[in-house]
């Protein structure tokens, strides 16, 4: 609750700061301070929360799990500001507004991790989406950015319509918006309920870009300014998953009802894994490869939604942390390299050893190599599905896809270490180096001892 209030207020404050402060460095430091405040406030609430959870007027539920997830998201945003904050001013003039929009997205994610009414789910999804349409089109003169923004807006509001229809049908069948009271699994199923759940699956799959609702993702991620793609592909995507997980784990579990959606979701997850990984193999640009890799990683996170057990909820927190830190770090490195093709990375290890080392470790983590955070994240998610028992074919498919993903991640590493070239690299400040080293340490610590994070849950 603290973090929700502080992020929403920070957004409003930053919009006004843009009017009075013209020094962009100062705005950046101010934004970093504000996200730090939200992070600390959230940690304080996490450590003092009594009795598991606390409900606010039947609309929001403050739980340990939600607060821990918020902490991960705020931590990832802090890292993102530190690593990419100075790139904001290259996009356009309104730096304070970009920071403000990111704070609004964060407040949407805080809602998504704690909603207990479908009304709050709708508001959370919309608060996350609308600022993203603006961020995607921030580079106003660039046609690719325009296209990304228009496409994202039309597709996004279309899926909002579908989400609302799903909510309305479920309300018609059950007469309540409260996800704890819904308890649809107990009685016999109303046909409206099944229709509603299917529409909700489609709409949420749209938001987290799962196949076959992923077609907007590569264009939008490729067209948006790179610095905002880094945020959309990480924190925002994880925020979509927490809404997905919460809705399905709280209201659509138990006996009769999960039979109806488990198979549909399993097929969506399988298609996401296969298509995301196979298409990523054929990409020529690292930025586009990361867009497809984010689709592939979404497939793994969907496994956590399917598994419906305790290991899965731990897994999604670990996955969100591992994936966000590694991808933000990778985008941080990408933005320092002028040429986004694979050839642009040739010979980077000789010219900038630290940059190449950091990229290697982040890519290891994304591929799920042991001793990096990605390994335990994948391990938790997969073992959750194994415990669930009925979907072993999906686990086997996921492991094969993880093996495929090694190919395209290692192509970047091969280019950096084993090919000769003169890559053009931007200015690298000591502060950037320090943050990069911190990110490497986070990835390795989570990979050796994931309990650091999970002990809080």
């Amino acid at each position: 609750m603290n973090s929700l209030i502080s992020t929403a207020l920070s957004g409003v404050v930053l919009m006004f700061v843009g009017l009075f402060v013209s020094n962009r460095q100062r705005i950046k430091y101010f934004a970093i301070a504000l996200v730090l405040v939200a992070f600390v406030a959230n940690l304080l609430e996490l450590s003092t929360l009594q009795g598991g959870s606390q409900t606010l007027f039947g609309m929001l539920e403050v739980s340990k799990f939600g607060l821990l997830f918020n902490a991960v998201m705020l931590g990832a945003t802090l890292l993102y500001f530190l690593l990419c904050g100075s790139e904001f001013e290259k996009v356009g003039e309104h730096v304070a507004d970009y920071f403000a929009l990111i704070f609004f997205i964060l407040s949407g994610i805080m809602l998504a991790s704690g909603f207990s009414s479908l009304l709050m789910l709708f508001l959370a999804i919309e608060i996350i989406s609308i600022p993203q349409y603006i961020l995607a089109g921030a580079d106003k003169k660039n046609l690719k950015s325009n296209e990304a923004s228009l496409k994202y807006f039309l597709m996004g509001s279309f899926s909002t319509g579908i989400l609302l229809m799903g909510i309305a049908l479920i309300y018609g069948a059950s007469g309540t918006f409260n996800i704890n009271e819904l308890a649809l699994g107990t009685g016999e199923l109303h046909p409206l309920t099944i229709g509603g759940i299917m529409l909700l699956i489609f709409a949420l799959a749209f938001k987290v870009s799962a196949v076959p609702f992923h077609f907007w993702t590569p264009d939008v991620y490729d067209g948006s300014p790179t610095v905002f793609t880094a945020f959309m592909a990480t924190v925002v995507k994880a925020g979509g998953f927490i809404a997905f997980l919460r809705l399905f784990h709280v209201s659509f579990t138990g006996g009769a009802i999960s039979q109806h959606w488990l198979l549909v979701l399993a097929i969506i997850a399988a298609a996401t894994l296969v298509l995301g990984n196979l298409t990523a193999v054929f990409q020529q640009s690292v930025k586009r490869m990361l867009a497809y890799s984010s689709i592939a990683q979404a497939g793994f996170m969907l496994l956590a939604v399917i598994a419906l057990n305790e290991t899965a909820t731990q897994g999604i927190i670990l996955y969100a942390a591992a994936y966000s830190v590694a991808t933000i770090g990778m985008f941080g490195v990408l933005m320092k390299v002028k040429d986004y093709t694979f050839e642009g990375f040739n010979g980077l290890a000789r010219k900038q050893p630290l940059l190449a080392l950091a990229a290697t470790i982040f890519l290891f983590s994304l591929a799920g190599i042991p001793l990096t955070a990605g390994f335990f994240a994948k391990y938790f998610v997969l073992s959750a599905v194994v415990q669930q028992g009925n979907l072993l074919w999906l686990v086997i498919l996921a492991v094969i896809c993880a093996a495929i993903s090694v190919y395209y991640y290692f192509r970047v590493i091969m280019a950096m270490y084993f090919k000769a070239g003169e890559p053009e690299v931007g200015v690298i400040t000591p502060a950037f180096r320090t943050v990069l080293i911190i990110a490497i340490i986070i990835v390795i610590v989570l990979g050796v001892y994931p309990g650091v994070l999970l002990q809080w849950a």
Binding site: F122, E126, Y133, G137, N146, E147, L150, S157, L164, M165
Partner: protein, 105 residues
């Protein structure tokens, strides 16, 4: 009037909206079709609200409050969406959604 009539009307409006989004090429018309989808949902929610109120649920007005939230969010979306369409129009002098694909190549 039985509530089924409202359900059929809403679903018909919703489907018209979906077909419009999938088939039209003009960004403004697609946008109008999305609004049609949202209003179909509004109508359905109000009908369900009345249905549950007649069935004796005391919190049935929640659905009507939901409708207000949908209207507010739709207005926010319109503000952002029209700004995006104007931005695209300034750069391309067209609101056809295929023109950007053509211009990129």
């Amino acid at each position: 009037m039985p509530v089924q009539y409202y359900i059929f009307l809403s679903i018909a409006l919703f489907c018209i909206g979906i077909m419009g989004v999938l088939m039209r090429r003009n960004a403004i018309i697609i946008f109008m079709c999305i609004e049609l989808m949202l209003n179909a949902v509004n109508l359905l929610l109000v009908a369900f609200s009345k249905m549950w109120a007649d069935a004796g649920r005391i919190d049935a007005a929640a659905a009507q409050i939901f409708v207000f939230f949908i209207m507010v969010v739709a207005a926010a979306e319109v503000a952002v969406g029209l700004a995006i369409i104007v931005m695209v129009y300034r750069n391309t002098h067209s609101v056809d959604i295929n023109i950007l694909n053509r211009l990129k190549n």
